[in-house]
Symmetry: C2
Subunit: 385 residues, 2 copies
């Protein structure tokens, strides 16, 4: 297989080989159903219990606050729809830049009697204080604001937003899928500030696809999305994906260990990348705000993002043009639209998201290749014009 340099870690990450090593027995001789009462089942149950402790430890939660799901999308849907089921229809408020797996379930509620409010963001992609207060004044039932945006990497000050939501009587949730593993997350502190639940995913932090969690205050009542045998304290039924959960636990352990180093290394690499991009005349989205240390979202004048990403892929660099999860959709990013970026510039958007395996050579190689590719594309445009 032709293997481009991978610079798309916000879409997904390679499984850390140490994580895969821990998963291996659960994909072969340790194959039991964790609900079974024999040795195969008990072994699987112990493995899940251990993983639950590891996930909890990585975010400062108690293991009883972890609800395992098949991933981040399921956990976000579980919060939005599961919490809504316990209330009379009211207002559900989400930031205008939420991932589709928060936005779409909120829209589903809106088709079933709820009112959806999208909280506006400013030009740097941060929730606008005035808009937030105005929405809270309407007394929403549920509020969801992501910890870090998947496209721009821009952070929201969840610890300040949550207390206001609590004062307004709302149940506050944060999608921490992109933040987790890149910046510290402390559920105990966030919970004290009024965050009732937060969402995690394994495959963004060197774990496998197929595992995620809703970390939740146990006073929160949720109707399960997947009801059945009563797994996960009745909040998420279905035979546990033992190997994926074990991998999630291991990935949490390793992510927590290397967090400080990762933050510094990625932020140094990203600095070099952005210096180069700025020298090429790139516009960097959200760069005036606090951001994840690994994410750069940029646009070059008169260059189409989709085309550029295709050319870079062929030249050996894997990056993203929009959020990977919604890239079946060719419209310009809803995140950039919400930030008021004009459509021409938004259509040029390219995301580079660095990860554990990247080094200075990758960044310099990417910048060189980008320069050549852009020159070629400008040449082609000239020919077409």
């Amino acid at each position: 297989m032709f293997a481009p340099v991978y610079l798309d870690h916000n879409a997904t990450t390679p499984i850390d080989p140490r994580v895969l090593e821990r998963m291996r027995p659960w994909l072969s001789e340790q194959f039991g159903n964790a609900s079974s009462r024999h040795e195969y089942g008990r072994a699987a149950r112990r493995a899940i219990d251990e993983a639950r402790e590891q996930v909890a430890a990585a975010v400062g939660a108690h293991s009883t606050e972890i609800v395992f799901t098949s991933g981040g999308s399921e956990a976000n849907n579980l919060f939005i729809k599961g919490a809504a089921a316990w209330y009379r229809p009211g207002i559900v408020a989400v930031s205008a830049i939420e991932h589709p797996c928060v936005m779409r379930p909120a829209e589903q509620l809106a088709r079933h009697g709820w009112t959806l409010r999208r909280i506006g963001v400013g030009a740097e992609g941060r929730v606008q204080a005035g808009d937030y207060s105005a929405v809270l004044a309407e007394k929403p039932v549920l509020v969801s604001v992501m910890a870090a945006n998947n496209e721009t990497g821009v952070l929201q000050d969840v610890a300040s937003l949550a207390p206001e939501a609590r004062k307004a009587g709302a149940v506050f949730h944060t999608d921490a899928v992109q933040a987790f593993g890149k910046i510290p997350i402390d559920f105990r502190a966030l919970n004290a500030a009024g965050v009732y639940a937060l969402t995690l995913s394994a495959h963004k932090i060197g774990g496998p696809k197929g595992a995620g969690a809703l970390v939740m205050d146990k006073r929160l009542e949720l109707e399960p999305l997947i009801a059945g045998g009563g797994h996960e304290r009745g909040l998420r039924s279905g035979t546990e994906n033992v190997a994926a959960i074990v991998g999630f636990g291991a990935a949490c352990e390793f992510a927590a260990e290397r967090l400080a180093v990762t933050q510094r290394q990625l932020s140094d690499l990203r600095g070099a990348l952005e210096d180069g991009l700025l020298r090429m005349g790139a516009m960097l989205f959200g760069s005036g705000a606090l951001r994840l240390p690994n994410t750069t979202y940029f646009s070059l004048p008169n260059i189409d993002g989709e085309t550029l990403v295709g050319q870079l892929d062929r030249a050996g660099y894997a990056v993203a043009s929009g959020a990977a999860c919604s890239s079946a959709n060719p419209e310009p990013s809803h995140v950039l639209r919400a930030m008021g970026i004009e459509p021409g510039l938004a259509r040029g958007a390219v995301r580079v998201s660095l990860g554990a395996g990247n080094n200075d050579k990758h960044v310099q190689g990417f910048l060189d290749t980008l320069r050549e590719t852009v020159a070629k594309l400008h040449g082609m445009t000239a020919l077409v014009a």
Copy 2:
């Protein structure tokens, strides 16, 4: 690890080593997000497309009729709640012996304005014709009857039940999780008879945990349980678990190849097992009905099922006392209750479910161990009495 002889294949199966071999690249160097537009993403997308063809081929469906989920529980919930969302609340009718992951979502509907009807079964565990007709006369919106029961292995004549449901204007679904891989399933024929959707799971047929499917008539409208990036034609969002889906496809391919042989071998083994059990005075549940070739559900006079399963486990044989997925619940099986089995006998129920790795030695060894264990338990009872 102490490894008892595994006789609990209805709970879960070991991953076929050939299946794991096919999964391996997708757990390491082929780690892309299938929505990404670069080579890593395209490779993942191709792998999912191929798996979709394999799953479709194994049940005589078209690949566009496959909706991948995280497993059977999710697929059953997707049908029950996803289809219900398109209708005004009415009647949802399910057989009294459905798996909890059909029963519980139907009960959820009942808490949101729907009326739940449980269709009764006879002493052999087959849907009662009179009860079925009476329920259909009430014009249910949704009907779900499982193809084969997980505890007894008893088959329902879905191909005859579905046309009646269609005549009554109902949308008919069948949970085929236990039937699949053990008896032939032909979605094309079933769909022609009025089956709108059926549920499959990978980990019951030598595939991994974490993958399942709803096979569905595309005229069926469903609201997604997990909404978001629009994966699976908008019916199930979330980053695809590529490795699990690839494993599911491979498991379908191998299951289809060996189906005829599996059926004959398991049914021969099961014959030897049941001969031995009958000689010990066992009551065999549902044995007067057509059953899966691998499943035996029995009770021995004055022996508690839970206790027996514990003793057998220590003596080297892994079997189940109730349905694994609900075995956190110590009440006697709802399936046996629905069949009118008296509670004392139901509490003695033990399930043996054979699979690809089992042979005559396992069955003879199990019978010998069972005889010794029962003698020991009777001795202990005598001492206590």
